[in-house]
Amino acid sequence: MSDSQEDVRKRGVETTGHVWDGDLREYNNPLPRWWVWAFYGTVVFAVVYWFLYPAWPVGDTYTKGMVTQSYEKADGERVTVPWNSRAAFVHDMQSGPEARKQRVWLERASKASMAQLESEPQLLDFTMKIGRQLFGDNCAGCHGAGGQGVVGLYPSLSDDVTLWGGTLADIRDSIARGRHGFMPGFEGALDDTQLKDVAEFVLSLSGVQGGDAQAVQRGARIFRGTAGGCFYCHTSAGTGNPRMGAPNLADKVWAIADVSGAGRYGAKVAAVEKVVRGGVHRDMPAWNGRLSATEIKLLAVYVHELGVAR
């Protein structure tokens, strides 16, 4: 660049022939031959590509290309469409070696009983892997990634307590049909003292110390009598009834009233009293239409292993 024009002329480098300001010339250094041919190659490639694959927009549609892709739709129908990456992706997901392997195992799992899924090593490995994915996609939104739940909102699945029964069949039914948990609020039906008495009695059921013995006795009478009627669902021993989703109040797990999170005795009473006063209304949707029977089965075994299985 810094060469004088004299140098340029002496060296005989080819110029474009343009001259500016009397002596400014422009070198003409051609592109390397291989580069030019590679460029022509890409041009030819592009033209061939236009005919084979979707390429040019035409009005509100586009040229579809000659290459096709077939895949299976969700209802099992086999369709062939002009190639597009989504169809290719669906096809790969259906026909890849891993997909085929998974299909064999799903077949095996659909024939096995839930007890077999839990006791046969290879089936259990498969169940836990698929179950983990299904749980993450469908359950973790409420119950948490590890099934830890949220006290008062969504039951924990990682402990050994179940509201609606803990057998494999119970869990499968809970997932398939959904659950509707309801406890009426007692505000108005019981006065403030009565509510507090009941709360103290409920705490005493699971051995929480610090209550006033008389209050506990008064609470017990409300709990077991027609005034409160709590025993209809929770039984007079407070051990609950899985057929109506009534929790066991005599164990150490507090799924609805945040007793474990409360500090002093007074706070614990307040936590229970709040539940008795306001009642509980919780819904779990049914997964019957959304997941296949096999998926629900795998999920039930996974959830069983999360907490209940001994």
């Binding site: 060296r11 046969e120 490995d125 590890g146 830890q148 402990d159 150490k252 797990v253 299985a309």
Partner: protein
């Protein structure tokens, strides 16, 4: 477009090395024979194993197992490969520091394959002058035939190389059968094609350009040189004398008369330049293109023998030795590389020799860490993966160590029957009654106790922890 004086690009000038015989040439042929023997025959060596393929060396990628004689490498032991690479790098540093580009000159596959390609060239086209004549000759049937034959033979060697490389990754006899009947998997064809093309291009067409322009090792090896490093060098003082090298014409035939006239021992025959595979003139000193193959040493020694003068005008020496100083081999640098090399080797051997027969990994469920149960007990969950790498069937039982009062539930069962090479997961729940004043984190161990009689492996004990809240 005329030539300009400053050219940043220079087209390759073809190199037609002359053949030479001598000590180093023989040593190089020996290395070549050994390397080719190992490379081409190793995949065919059978090996008896209870489980796995009957091939001595097999890198089975689909099954994720590397079979190296009696050693089976599993994916979790792939860091051995890193160790091997570290050792290779250190060995290269060490050897280069002491003896220069020994790797380049004798062992590098670029050098070995180029050597074979040059042999083929000589076999078909003749010795150097004939080859130069052929290159300059106008196109004709004879030239076409000779060149075509050369390239066909080159391609044959390249294909054999590519196919042999592919055989290391699958059962060799079966793969060869499938390969030629069109039933081999696509990667086998792709690998063979890639290796065939690169071998042909690098050893046949590119040759010394690979070493000069492409190879990173060539560049950083020259950085590891010092004045004590062994190099192939021309003894300028002896060769040039006071008045430079000179042809041995009638007056200057005897060494004594030459020395009296101030001429050195170099008779400027150019043999050292003609034999050089990279086309350098060793008499111009240490050059980055020089791969230290020592063929010029053989060439010059031969000339000196004919003249009856002492050998070693071109020889292995060091810059210090050339300048009359002592060559020091025991230096902190070489000692340091040597020590690190020994440590790395010992660590790798120790790791390979001491790896357990059962590979166990314990993963604790962290979400949630601990759960209070209806009984008031606290529960932690673990997933334990057990890999039977012992090569024989095992019966194991999972046991808790160092967590008194704890109960354990294991799905599918605490008893574990593992076929060789099988991998199982155990889903474990550990429960412990809380006690006042207990630490939040308790350390304990899971132990896999072999069940059965003799020749069982040692129990494997893996540390873990229990969170009480």
């Amino acid at each position: 477009m005329t030539e300009s004086p400053v050219q940043l690009y220079r087209a390759r000038t073809a190199i037609h090395p002359r053949s030479v015989s001598g000590r180093f040439r023989n040593a190089k042929y020996a290395v070549l024979a050994l390397a080719y023997g190992v490379f081409f025959l190793l995949p065919w060596l059978r090996w008896s194993r209870d489980v796995g393929p009957q091939q001595a060396l097999l890198f089975d990628l689909p099954a994720r197992r590397f079979y190296v004689f009696d050693l089976v490498v599993h994916p979790q032991e792939i860091f051995w490969l890193a160790g091997l690479l570290v050792i290779a790098a250190l060995l290269l540093f060490f050897v280069t520091g002491v003896a220069g580009r020994v790797w380049c000159g004798y062992f590098c596959f670029q050098t070995l394959w180029t050597d074979v390609y040059m042999l083929i060239e000589r076999l078909v086209q003749g010795e150097q002058p004939a080859r130069i004549r052929l290159a300059k000759a106008p196109w004709g049937m004879a030239k076409l035939f000779k060149l075509a034959l050369t390239h066909v033979l080159w391609l044959a060697v390249a294909f054999a190389t590519g196919l042999t490389f592919t055989l290391y990754w699958a059962d060799a006899p079966a793969l060869v059968g499938h390969f030629f009947t069109g039933q081999a998997p696509f990667p086998a064809y792709a690998t063979t094609l890639l290796l065939t093309v690169t071998t042909y291009v690098f050893a046949g067409l590119a040759r010394e350009q690979v070493c000069t322009y492409m190879c990173p090792y060539a560049r950083f090896q020259s950085v590891m040189f010092d004045r004590d490093t062994l190099i192939v060098s021309y003894d300028r003082a002896r060769g040039e004398g006071a008045n430079g090298r000179y042809k041995p014409d009638r007056e200057l035939k005897e060494r004594e008369t030459r020395q009296a006239a101030g001429h050195g021992d170099c008779i400027d025959c150019g043999y050292c330049v003609q034999v050089c595979p990279t086309g350098v003139d060793i008499r111009e000193g240490l050059q980055v293109e020089c791969i230290h193959c020592a063929l010029c040493v053989d060439a010059c020694d031969g000339i000196m023998d004919t003249l009856g003068w002492p050998r070693g005008l071109v020889r292995y020496t060091s810059q210090n030795a050339l300048e009359g100083r002592r060559t020091r081999l025991l230096k902190p640098k070489t000692l340091g590389y040597g020590v690190v090399l020994l440590i790395a080797t010992a660590l790798l051997i120790g790791s390979v020799a001491g790896h357990p027969d059962i590979d166990v990994s314990v993963r604790q469920t962290r979400n949630p860490l601990s759960v209070t149960l209806s009984s008031g007990e606290v529960q932690n969950r673990y997933t334990i993966k057990v890999d039977n790498t012992s090569g024989r069937p095992l019966r194991l039982r999972l046991v808790l160590d160092g967590l008194p009062g704890a109960h354990m539930t294991v799905l599918p069962s605490p008893e574990l029957h593992l076929r060789p090479e099988a991998r199982r997961a155990l889903y474990v729940k550990v429960r412990l009654a809380p006690e006042p004043g207990q630490a939040r984190r308790l350390k304990f161990r899971f132990r896999l106790q072999p069940q059965g009689r003799t020749s069982e492996p040692e129990p494997v004990s893996v540390p873990s922890q229990f969170y009480t809240r």
